[in-house]
Symmetry: none
Subunit: 226 residues, 2 copies
């Protein structure tokens, strides 16, 4: 038996349905209160409190006190990517949650995946960037080409600043609704932010759905998926 990191601890943490629901809800990047998370998981506040305590202890979540509320959010991007990886694999294996709820086609079209664009539009964006030569895919590695960098700068994204950070510039992320890949990483986040700034899209309150205006969607496809 070798020594090494204990993945069982992490797995068990994610392996409880209530906690998994909480984590999934937090993948939008938005911070939620303890009560909201309890409702999201379908448990009483008392039980939720126990779960949140464990998630905090493992540093999967961070907490911010604000008045009588406690807001919880994913601890960092790494936790987000781990959850994304898990969802991708679960989707491929056909492991779907059975609990029914409002079926949401909007969620399938465009939503935040942690903090970048996912859904059909996210996939279109990604594939458009590939075919137009802005991105290159080699063996699961995704890189921004010179032409792509120029195009991004022109679109109002400071690629140099993004590259200087610790975070990977480009990363592919498996989309669970369409089972195809979309763009994650610092660039993915920056692009989504720019879409907000330009008024092309905005996030629906308390949901992971992103609503694009008619013209916004059109411009997005023209610009990147032509």
């Amino acid at each position: 038996m070798k020594e090494g990191p204990d993945i069982a601890l992490l797995g068990a943490l994610i392996g409880d349905p209530a906690r998994a629901n909480m984590l999934t809800s937090l993948m939008s990047g938005k911070a939620l209160t303890a009560s909201e998370l309890a409702a999201e998981a379908g448990i009483t506040p008392a039980t939720a409190s126990v779960h949140l305590k464990k998630l905090l202890a493992a540093a999967l979540l961070r907490q911010r006190k604000q008045g009588r509320h406690r807001y919880f959010a994913l601890a960092d991007d790494e936790v987000g990517s781990l959850l994304e990886t898990l969802m991708g694999l679960a989707a491929k294996r056909g492991m779907l949650r059975t609990r029914t709820g409002p079926k949401d086609p909007a969620l399938r079209k465009a939503r935040v995946c942690y903090n970048h664009l996912a859904g059909d539009l996210g996939v279109s964006l990604y594939e458009g960037l590939i075919t137009t030569g802005h991105l290159r895919e080699d063996d699961d590695e995704v890189t921004l080409t010179v032409a792509g960098q120029a195009s991004m700068e022109q679109f109002g994204i400071d690629v140099g600043a993004l590259q200087s950070g610790r975070r990977a510039l480009c990363k592919s992320c498996l989309d669970w609704s369409s089972r195809r890949t979309h763009l994650a990483g610092a660039l993915g986040t920056a692009l989504l932010g720019r879409f907000y700034d330009l008024g092309w899209a905005k996030r629906q309150e308390g949901s992971r759905v992103i609503t694009f205006s008619g013209s916004g969607e059109k411009k997005l496809l023209e610009q990147f998926a032509a």
Copy 2:
């Protein structure tokens, strides 16, 4: 509650210590038998069997039957990367396993697998026989060529007698230490027997380790892996 992939299922699967140990052991890419995995996890074969069944059902592992053994390996690279992500995060969070155990490098070099030679030397032998045209591989079928038969006769092996038996003359066998194939079947057994007879190697008492003399190893490689 939204619909989506069920990451709790995956998490719970990885969250059990015994299963986590098995998965971690398989991260080298090597295939291991059910018994070996049981030992790795520190549980009885019965319990291991239950766990392996679950991991197979979730398509986290794939299985290859080989004689009395069942070799298990990670299903694909995606499972591997998920585990790596988990280990990375666990390491960063300071979640470390403490259990330690011995690992035998001699076992890795040369050992008996049933009655034939396995380990690095076994793999070298097999690959040498292929490249020198003594063996031919077609779609998991392994056959001795005419040139190979002559060479074996010259080496002191009565191929005709082996062929008359019920047992298959040549068979490939997956090597767990290098995850490559080596030679099994009647010919594999006969070759190992000849190595013993010639004094090139002998079997260590009460162990699966085979010790080759310096000259024996050299002659083996000269003869078959030149």
